[in-house]
Amino acid sequence: MSVGLEREPSQAVEPASGQSDSGGAGRAAERPTWPHRHLLDTDVLTGGDVELVMATADAMKQVLARPIPTVPALRGRNVTLLFYEASTRTRVSFEVAGKNLSANVVNIATAASSVTKGESLVDTVRTLEALGAQLLVIRHGVSGAPYLAARHFGGHIVNAGDGWHAHPTQALLDLYTIRERLGQSLAGRKVVVLGDVLHSRVARSNVWTLTAAGADLWLCGPATLLRGFEAWARVGAAGRRFTVTSDVNAALRDADVVMALRVQRERMASALVPSLREYAARFGLTAERLELARPEAFVMHPGPMNEGVEIAPAVAEGPRSVITTQVANGVAVRMAVLQLLAGRVA
């Protein structure tokens, strides 16, 4: 059929990954340029794109090590943070990243209730553009909302988390943190994502980046919170291979990395989990369970944590935890993303 619709350059479909263009390790020395207008998810990033984020984040980390950790990359630029969901961690991380790049950062906290009252996202986005927003960082409870915003905004959109769908900067900072410890290639490294996979935008964005990086990815949780992922693993959309299991011991055995995901109280009201106590007993990441992993394995969590539910306090605060490193790396990675989208070439 004849199709009149074209993807914007930012959403251009990359060639099927696998053999050809992804798998960042060992890429040629030629320095690629950043081709995307927005960062909406990690699914469209090539291996080259990811390498560029990682290399830029390295540079930003050096900036952060300076006594005055600022560069003028976004001087005079306006970064607007539009958060429809409460989030301290991600919002502050973007705010610090923007300020370190000398941007003017505008914070707009929108009560979740105004979303359901029908206050139009499209109008809000147009208004913010008229008020000078050039980079718009959006957190929204409805999957796909940043894609709607991108259709109506002249500048750059960064998805800071949409519904269950995607959280690309989290996946990139997770990858950055893993590579700091395991090196550039994750080939053969077992990475376990443990918890409420069904409702997790972090899990989905990590599926794209970790499988592209060659990791042996395992998704683990109760069957009710894995629904649909078994089929995804079987089809292997875009050639992505990963393993889905409810067997927590099989998942953790010989793991190199364990990433625990938050389990929310609402899951009991919707009859997906009997109780948090039962969840903690069967799927909680405890010190005993972690013994199954490799001795040098480390533990991650995107936050905020329910200590004592999906992760035991002793693990969260123990020597294997890199959770605070993730937070610190988050600033460097978000600086890198903002710089790549809108920064002036140094």
Partner: protein
């Protein structure tokens, strides 16, 4: 390009001669080269051509058929005239080749008594369009799902059946009463089969696309569970009321169609329809695919992976694709097509659901359900015909004779090409296409996922009861 020449709507067809066209007569079970003559609104002659006369006329050019009947449309008057009025809805219907529409009663207020029918009758009496406007009455008072609406009073006022569409008939007990009482009155109950317990908050068909996009799953089981309930209740009441009749609308999944196929084999008096978008589109479109459903399955009928084969060409999360029931998997779409071919599905009905941009141009999960589809139904079916998936005769039968089988003679004459009757015809050109665009859609509802695409099968004329309902501007030249 394809706006109505407003002056011609409602004018009698004084004199029209179409020679060397492809005639399709579903009631007669016949198609072939021929010519028709309409004089003073009457279909005076239907001449089938043979031998040398027929040379060069094939089914790929201009087609003449009985005007279509839509078993399922939502016009929004009263209550939401910004989304559609009876006047704009009938204009859109005629542009789509439809001469008869059956309106669902879920307006605001709903058509749940004779007052609602009187209100509708007075609007229809003032229309210039000759499109026949028929109506369902609500099954329950205020469509609230509890007490029966005055079904007898509604029957006296001329409804063609009963439906709480928008929602299922909520309780099996109410459905049982409605089937018995409606059967007594000789009218069917039209159910929207959905187990609401399985679809709370659902956004997209539960499957690969919903999983990858992080959309709340809408399981196929919700439809099969409701169809199973409805069929069990129907079987149960037949001993007491053999005239009880059940029609299941916009059936969209393979398991539900299997249940209906078995029920028909067991001679239960059940009929069903399928919406054009469930035949031609699939849930892939939510991820950005724009290929037809039959192109989205491999040679053994399994859904292809649009992420690997480069078929994601549009941005994901287009809210014009949000509809109830949702766009299903390519396998389900294939099952819908198979059901249409083997007669499990009696008819194609549009479920035309126009919405304003205020309700639709919002986040996917907050958008109103529904597709403005009465003008694109023919094009979607012709796409299937062009692809060799659907015989032209069956496609047209499903929008003419099929609808008559569901509602019987209540929808009036016109499923065949019968000399001496008032002309009720559609004339369309399969070789010509048109662009689906906000200006070309006559419906106030511009919520079509096909905007920007070219559809085959341009309607040239729709004639109802001897009067013009639609006349393509190209004919004025």
């Amino acid at each position: 390009m394809s706006a109505v020449a407003a002056t011609s709507v409602g004018q009698p067809v004084a004199d029209l001669e179409l020679s060397r066209a492809w005639l399709v007569d579903p009631a007669g079970g016949r198609e072939g080269p021929g010519e028709i003559i309409v004089t003073n609104g009457v279909l005076e002659a239907v001449n089938w051509l043979e031998g040398d006369e027929a040379a060069g006329v094939d089914e790929r050019g201009v087609v003449v058929a009985p005007a279509f009947t839509d078993l399922h449309a939502h016009f929004r008057e009263p209550g939401n005239e910004a989304a559609e009025t009876i006047a704009t809805g009938t204009a859109a219907a005629a542009h789509g080749g439809f001469g008869t529409v059956c309106l669902m009663p879920n307006t605001d207020p709903p058509v749940d008594g004779r007052e609602g029918m009187a209100r509708l009758d007075s609007v229809v009496a003032g229309l210039s369009s000759p499109v026949r406007v028929l109506a369902y009455g609500a099954v329950t008072a205020r469509s609230a799902g509890e007490e029966l609406a005055p079904l007898g009073e509604l029957a006296d006022a001329g409804v063609v059946g009963y439906s709480d569409d928008g929602s299922p008939v909520r309780s099996a007990a109410v459905l049982r009463s409605a089937l018995l009482y409606g059967g007594m009155l000789g009218l069917p109950v039209v159910d929207h089969p959905e187990d609401l317990g399985l679809t709370s908050g659902a956004e997209a068909h539960e499957g690969l696309v919903a999983t990858v996009l992080g959309l709340r799953g809408w399981p196929a089981a919700a439809e099969a569970a409701a169809v199973g309930r409805d069929l069990a209740v129907l079987a149960d009441v037949l001993a007491d009321e053999p005239r009880a009749r059940l029609h299941l609308t916009h059936v969209s999944t393979a398991p539900a169609l299997d249940l209906i196929r078995s029920a028909k084999a067991a001679r239960l008096p059940v009929t069903c329809d399928i919406a054009p978008h469930h035949l031609a589109l699939s849930d892939e479109w939510l991820a950005g695919s724009r290929r037809w459903a039959w192109e989205a399955v491999d040679s053994v009928g399994r859904a292809r992976d649009p992420w690997t084969d480069g078929s994601l060409v549009a941005a994901p999360f287009d809210s014009s694709l949000r509809v109830n029931p949702p766009l299903r998997s390519p396998e389900d779409a294939a099952a819908c097509l198979a059901a249409l071919l083997d007669g499990t599905a009696d008819a194609v009905a549009t479920d035309h659901a126009p919405h304003t941009s205020v309700d639709k141009d919002v986040e996917f999960g907050l958008a109103a359900n529904g597709i403005s589809g009465i003008e694109t139904a023919l094009g979607l079916l012709i796409a299937g015909v062009d692809a060799g998936r659907l015989p032209l005769l069956r496609a047209i039968e499903a929008m003419t004779l099929g609808a008559s089988r569901v509602l019987g003679d209540r929808i009036g004459p016109g499923s065949g090409l019968v000399e001496g009757e008032q002309a009720t015809l559609v004339v369309f050109d399969r070789a010509d296409s048109w662009e689906v665009s906000p200006t070309n859609l006559l419906s106030l509802g511009k919520n079509s996922p096909l905007l920007g695409l070219e559809l085959p099968g341009r309607v040239l004329l729709t004639i109802v009861d001897g009067q013009f309902a639609y006349r393509d501007r190209s004919l004025d030249a």
